[in-house]
Amino acid sequence: MKASVIVFPGSNCDRDAAVALEAATGRPPAMVWHGDTELPKSDLIVLPGGFSYGDYLRSGAMAAHSPVMREVIKRAKAGTPVLGICNGFQVLTEARLLPGVLMRNASLKFICKDVHLRVERTDTSFTGRYRKGNVVTFAIAHKDGSYFADDETLARLEGEGRVAFRYCDPQGQVSAEANPNGSRNNIAGIYNEARTVLGLMPHPERLADPALSGTDGAKMFTGLVESLAA
């Protein structure tokens, strides 16, 4: 599987993503600078976490309009899987590849900690190595992670089964107490209609190696390799 990681000025999880991808695929991904207009042939495109363009105007707003994103949007619409992590999720919503917005955390605080997530479905390229209803531990590190969409959009997402992950307690109960940032319906990640684009605030790449004190995130990358390598 050939993966590309898009690097924006201010990205800071691009190398973590590259390490996790290399561990899963056996080869380093292409690192593509935001100003490039050409994107190598890719089976997977990753938009990493960080603070692209210093979060100016709105998180992800500038990056969504950077030159390479025109090509990313074109590929995404043609079916190439795209994974947006944290700031990458914000970029995907600003680029309108995913609906809704990531707003300031309800607590107004930057939150950096491990959280429990419930896996909502396992029939996608991203979640093939998980079991439905599994509780997994990923790390969050964000200030603008409160997922907002209007009632109509939210009903559509729920109706179409497009919620990928929800914040939950260790037993898998989705509750207000387990919601770290005020996201509507405890949403931590969502898919596009075709389930080929996934945006999520938690970082699978940060718990993808035993040395990082957790490996739940690694299954996302190994699962991607299994479903896309063919």
Binding site: V101, M103, R104, N105, L108, S146, F148, A149
Partner: protein
């Protein structure tokens, strides 16, 4: 022409920053303060003399970048630069 653009959160969209500001105003004794909402103000000089064309240009700027119309409304005034 010069555009003075105001971007505000749509009614009903949660604004925790506005709430925090409101709390601080109350703490300062401004009991009269209520329903505080925080927005953005942006000035842009548009190299366009015709007001109708300038308006069309500013509208596109707002829709494509300056405001996220999922959660924000925008309004602006134009004046000769």
């Amino acid at each position: 022409m010069k555009a003075r653009i105001t971007i505000t959160l749509k009614p009903g969209v949660l604004d925790p920053q506005g709430k925090a500001i409101e709390g601080a105003l109350h703490a300062l004794g401004f009991g009269s303060a209520g329903n505080v909402r925080q927005g953005k103000y942006i000035e842009v000089e548009v190299a366009e003399k015709d007001p109708a064309r300038a308006r069309a240009e500013v509208d596109r700027m707002c829709k494509e970048l300056l405001a996220n119309t999922i959660i924000e409304n925008y309004a602006y005034e134009l004046e000769a630069a």
